[in-house]
């Protein structure tokens, strides 16, 4: 049996006294690809933030385990060093810090080992080329003035550089043009192996092309109301979420 990576159970979380997640369960094992779909405002990004320990969100009940360790109260940086990563729906801009310097610091922090600078530079160049990103972007300030699509590519560049065990991709496809979606999907395929896992939040089936999806979860009103296989993707693309929203209301 595959090794359990993430176990979320009975999770209740709120922001500004408003409950967003209300009793959410989710298990992800090494080697798996999970997709989360759900209407706007359902709590998908909130789930990603809570898994990473964003202090803005308060956990009222439930537990988050990663590789068997209880991380429910752990700080964000410690979770990242365990191997959790999220590609943000709207990545922050950090003026004055170049993408390359940031990646170097973050890679060193995540591995806990001194960086082999030459090898790092070489790998970075290669990864950027694969993502069709101009090399000069390494010297630009992190996300500052990047277009929506460029920011998403930079997130995937970070994922490929940091090689996390669990990558949460929050609407990484939105804002990408057709070619960029293809390039980013290819990057994701390259990343994926038997010992890591993907949790993909998306409204769009395109980014999933070429990926072997194991589970599709429907998240509405702060819970996972249904879990199925890849066939659900087409169904939702066609019929939307009505069925699940109604069943949730019943």
């Amino acid at each position: 049996m595959a090794e359990k990576l993430l176990e979320v159970s009975g999770l209740h979380a709120s922001v500004e006294d408003k409950e967003i997640l209300s009793g959410l369960d989710l298990n992800v094992s090494a080697g798996e690809t999970h997709v989360i779909m759900g209407p706007n405002g359902a709590g998908k990004s909130t789930l990603g933030n809570v898994i990473l320990g964003n202090p803005e969100y308060i956990i009222n009940a439930g537990k988050i385990l990663f590789e068997g360790a209880d991380i429910t109260r752990e700080k964000t940086d410690a979770r990242a060093r365990r191997g959790i990563f999220m590609s943000f729906q709207s990545p922050e801009e950090v003026p004055g810090v170049t993408l390359e310097d940031f990646l170097r610091v973050s890679k060193t922090a995540v591995t806990g080992k001194p960086l082999k600078v030459f090898a790092f530079k070489k790998q970075l160049k290669k990864t950027m080329a694969a993502l069709n990103m101009d090399e000069s972007y390494a010297q630009r300030y992190l996300n500052v003035g990047f277009s929506g699509g460029e920011k998403k590519k930079a997130e995937i560049l970070q994922m490929l550089t940091l090689q996390p065990k669990l990558a949460i991709l929050d609407e990484t496809d939105s804002g990408l043009d057709v070619d960029a979606v293809r390039i980013v999907s290819e990057g994701i395929r390259q990343y994926k192996n038997e010992s890591n896992a993907l949790l993909i939040i998306t409204h769009n089936a395109k980014i999933l092309e070429g990926l072997k999806v194991d589970y599709v979860h429907i998240l509405t009103d702060g819970k996972i109301v249904h879990t199925g296989g890849p066939e659900l993707i087409d169904e939702i693309s066609r019929d939307g979420f009505h069925r699940w929203e109604e069943s949730a209301a019943q």
Partner: protein, 476 residues
Amino acid sequence: MSNTLQKNKIEEVDHSLYDFKDAVHPSFETNAGLTPEIVEQISREKGDPDWMRAFRLKSLEIYNQLSVPEWGPPIDGLDMNNIVAYVRPDTPMRGKWSEVPSDIKNTFERLGIPEAERKSLAGVGAQYDSEVVYHNVREEVAAQGVVYTDMESALKGKYADMVREHFMKLVPPTDHKFAALHGAVWSGGSFVYVPAGVKVEIPLQSYFRLNAPGAGQFEHTLIIVDKGAYLHFIEGCSAPKYNVANLHAGCVELFVEEGARLRYSTIENWSKNMYNLNTKRALVKKGGAIEWVSGSFGSHTSYLYPMSVLQGEGARMEFTGITFAGRGQQLDTGAKVVHAAPHTSSHIVTKSISKDGGECTYRSAVTIAKNAVGCKSSVSCESLMLDSKSRSDTIPAMDIRNDDADVGHEAKIGRISDDAVFYLMSRGISEEDARAMIVSGFAEPISKELPVEYAVEMNNLIKLEMDDKSAPVCKA
């Protein structure tokens, strides 16, 4: 978990690097108060020419007539009667590193001077207390005819007339009380003359620091860049901590002749009990340019507003500055410019950071004279407050006397965004390092103007300040 929380060693700063002091070697110390007798005694000791002795006494008179400025942060902590105005180490001038006494050498070594010199800097004039103890100008620079010496030697040497012609003409002792004090007791500092057309490719640097408890430092810097010449001069300051209020009232006078360009960079890192009341001024002739890069760290209280007088047509000034005020610090800094000729331009970019109740005030003054048509001036100041206890104020003054001027001013005040901290932490970076990274990024437009070793030092200073949870040392 403990291993995952360990701090990244590469990023760590050696606190002891900036916080050390040697045993004091005073060969001569004046009485604590300031009288004509003391000023005469200083003058005699230094072997001043007559005109300088008279100048000092005249300055003392002015000093006694002027009152302490009251428009800025309080300086009540200063008691001139308790300040030993003049401390000279018992080391004569040194030309060779190997001849400098070991504890003094140690101090400098830890400040990185010989190392910096190795890194192809042109010359080192390091001031230890009030006297220059080590001075060395690289031969190739001297061969270009560049004069780089301490002020005392300049006063007696080949360039004595030039010094007399310029000394405190730009910052007269009547300017304010501390300029008068400076005129009376100044000691040490650098004199640089770059002959017409000479471009000095590598920066000249001088490192000042205070060492003796209670000692004031009144060094004078006089730089003349002749027609069409170019120079980059760097002054860095660092001082160990003491329990007595300290005063720094230095003076910098920069003369930029026609078509010349001078870049003047300073990183000041004073001990947290220092009253830094420094006066810096540049006079720029036709087509000349002055570029200031200024980092103000440390001190208890600072008043610092480098002024540029754009006297000739088409003269330019650029000012890039950063100020960091932590607990118990009040740093009142900024820049002033006088557009006295047509088609002159000024460009001021300042950043300030305040933390743990520190107060930064940005004060600027842009004056455009009536006849100075076609001038351009842009001022941008940004402040970052690291917590809600800290303060940041902006006091921009503009006096525009003709209607053919292009003037812009922009001010921004911000805080570190929690979202940005979370974003960086989600990549494994600790909260402390994430905040430091954001602050360094904020300071980046300034550090990128500095030579790389100074930029690194400035980043270290920022990290040091970010980590500094200790109470201020000033108990006076």
